[in-house]
């Protein structure tokens, strides 16, 4: 395991150094996107409309934060990750079209995303589910919010972060997927458990 600290915009060469199980901290610009922001971003791309922010080299965070407006400034109160599998249907196109280098969430992603990350050079960083204050404390400022019409959790929040992490590299850009590895191990353990509990199949 190697610990990496990367600054956005992140280059393809830098991201290709990362391997599954490495630990990553990110400093720079991070953008939140859940189901609806992914969908809208891809619609914009198809229509040839520019996104509110150029995502090349940035980190996209699967997160629906609790935000609080203090005066005219937004503050992140709690900002942990949401379940990433819901974004599996969008992420390959997202990585391909917008060249984001790091996708952050919880629970892992599937083969479509893993293949796209290998092809275009990106990683999936698992952030501890529920660790919302740890995340919020790494958000140094809220640059702005876009697509607020989607509601607080679904809007695109643009954050300036400092040493955001720890992220466990769970999908690297070399077709390795930690969640697939764990699933294989679990499947093997299942037979041992059945045996112990006297379960015949």
């Amino acid at each position: 395991m190697v610990v990496y600290k990367l600054q956005t915009p992140i280059s393809e060469a830098d991201i290709r150094k990362l391997k599954v199980n490495d630990m990553l901290y990110i400093t720079g610009t991070m953008v939140t996107a859940r189901d609806q922001a992914h969908q809208r971003a891809l619609e914009y791309f198809r229509q040839g409309k520019p996104l509110p922010i150029n995502l090349e080299g940035l980190a996209v965070f699967h997160c629906g934060p609790v935000m609080s407006k203090q005066g005219d400034k937004w503050v992140a109160v709690a900002a942990g990750p949401t379940t990433s599998t819901r974004m599996d249907i969008f992420e390959d196109e997202f990585v391909k079209n917008f060249k984001v280098r790091v996708v952050i969430g919880k629970g892992g992603m599937g083969k479509r995303t893993t293949d796209a990350m290998a092809k275009y050079g990106a990683v999936y960083g698992a952030f501890t589910g529920g660790a919302a204050i740890l995340a919020a404390k790494a958000i140094k400022s809220v640059l702005r919010v876009e697509w607020f019409d989607l509601g607080m959790p679904e809007a695109m929040w643009i954050f300036e972060v400092e040493e955001f992490g720890p992220l466990t590299v769970a999908i690297d850009s070399h077709e390795n997927n930690l969640f697939t590895d764990v699933a294989k191990n679990v499947e093997a353990n299942k037979q041992r458990i059945y045996q112990k509990l006297g379960i015949s199949q």
Partner: protein, 294 residues
């Protein structure tokens, strides 16, 4: 003070306590898991969880951004007064907590796909009533995260397969849930009654502290057996591998129909959020999960 206002204030306070402070029994279990975890990645996750719990307490901020669906369990004394005002007070408390704690607005009209913005809507917050002897009202709140709710399962098992069939059902459910419910989780298992009753019982056991096994020693043995089996899966903290997948298991049951074997598995994420308080007839209030800070 007016009774409705007292109930509203107490409900507000326990919602706030629940979303910020993880109960001591869960914290202890997480610390023990951290000490015993051998996977490096698993240890990293548990360390982040423990740091996060501490930060939430220090900053008095919700421990997780998914502040959940608000569910109340009320024990209403037969002699308690003004019970008709309780539900209205709970709704007011929910609205206030959404604004002031703050909570994430999590109540969506499933037809219009519109978020009400204040955590209230048809049947939400949900209120479970129980009538008990006495003149006090005991309020308990569970704020239930979506990730762990999405993997709760009810199955109609085959009666002939008995408890062995149940064990297989629970193990398979834990494996299918994988990383999704934010492990290490707490699991409630209940059988019998009917499809709805088994899930209601399973979910209610999530309110029990982890150090309170079932008083029936046979059931307590089953709880332990399921816990050990779940931790043999290797799913680990956050599904990234390791030996801590489940922190505790509670089992409950109702008698069953001869032809039916309903079984439910309810999950809670590590961020188990619950708090209780009792309002006595003389309007004094006892906070049962955690003392109120003045």
């Amino acid at each position: 003070m007016e009774k409705a206002k007292i109930v509203e204030n107490v409900a507000f306070n326990i919602i706030k306590q629940a979303v910020i402070y993880i109960p001591d029994d869960v914290k202890q279990a997480l610390k023990k898991a951290y000490a015993e975890e051998t996977s490096e990645t698993g240890k990293t996750q548990l360390n982040a969880i423990l740091n996060n719990i501490e930060l939430a307490e220090k900053h008095k901020a919700p421990v997780c951004q998914d502040t959940g669906t608000i569910i109340f369990y009320i024990k209403a004394g037969t002699q308690a007064k003004n019970l008709e005002k309780v539900e209205g007070a709970l709704i007011n408390a929910t609205r206030r907590a959404t604004k002031e704690v703050p909570l994430r607005p999590n109540a969506v009209d499933p037809f219009a796909q519109r978020n009400s913005g204040d955590n209230t809507g048809r049947f939400i917050p949900f209120v479970n009533w129980e009538i008990v002897l006495g003149d006090s009202i005991e309020l308990t709140v569970m704020t239930k995260g979506g990730g762990s709710e999405n993997v709760c399962v009810t199955g109609m098992l085959v009666p002939g397969q008995g408890i062995t069939g149940l064990k297989k059902f629970v193990v398979d459910t834990v494996i299918n849930a994988g990383a999704k419910p934010c492990p290490p989780t707490i699991i409630g298992v209940a059988i019998g009654g009917g499809a709805d009753i088994s899930m209601k019982l399973a979910k209610k056991t999530l309110l029990k502290p982890l150090n309170e096994p079932n008083p029936d020693s046979e059931i307590a043995k089953l709880e332990k057996e399921i816990l050990e089996a779940a931790n043999m899966t290797g799913i680990g903290p956050m599904g990234l591998g390791g030996k801590t997948t489940v922190l505790g298991v509670h089992v409950d049951y109702a008698f069953r129909h001869p032809a039916s074997f309903p079984a439910s598995v309810a999950f809670n994420c590590w961020a188990s959020r619950r708090a209780s308080a009792r309002i006595n007839a003389d309007e004094t209030v006892e906070y049962l999960t955690r003392k109120m800070e003045m």
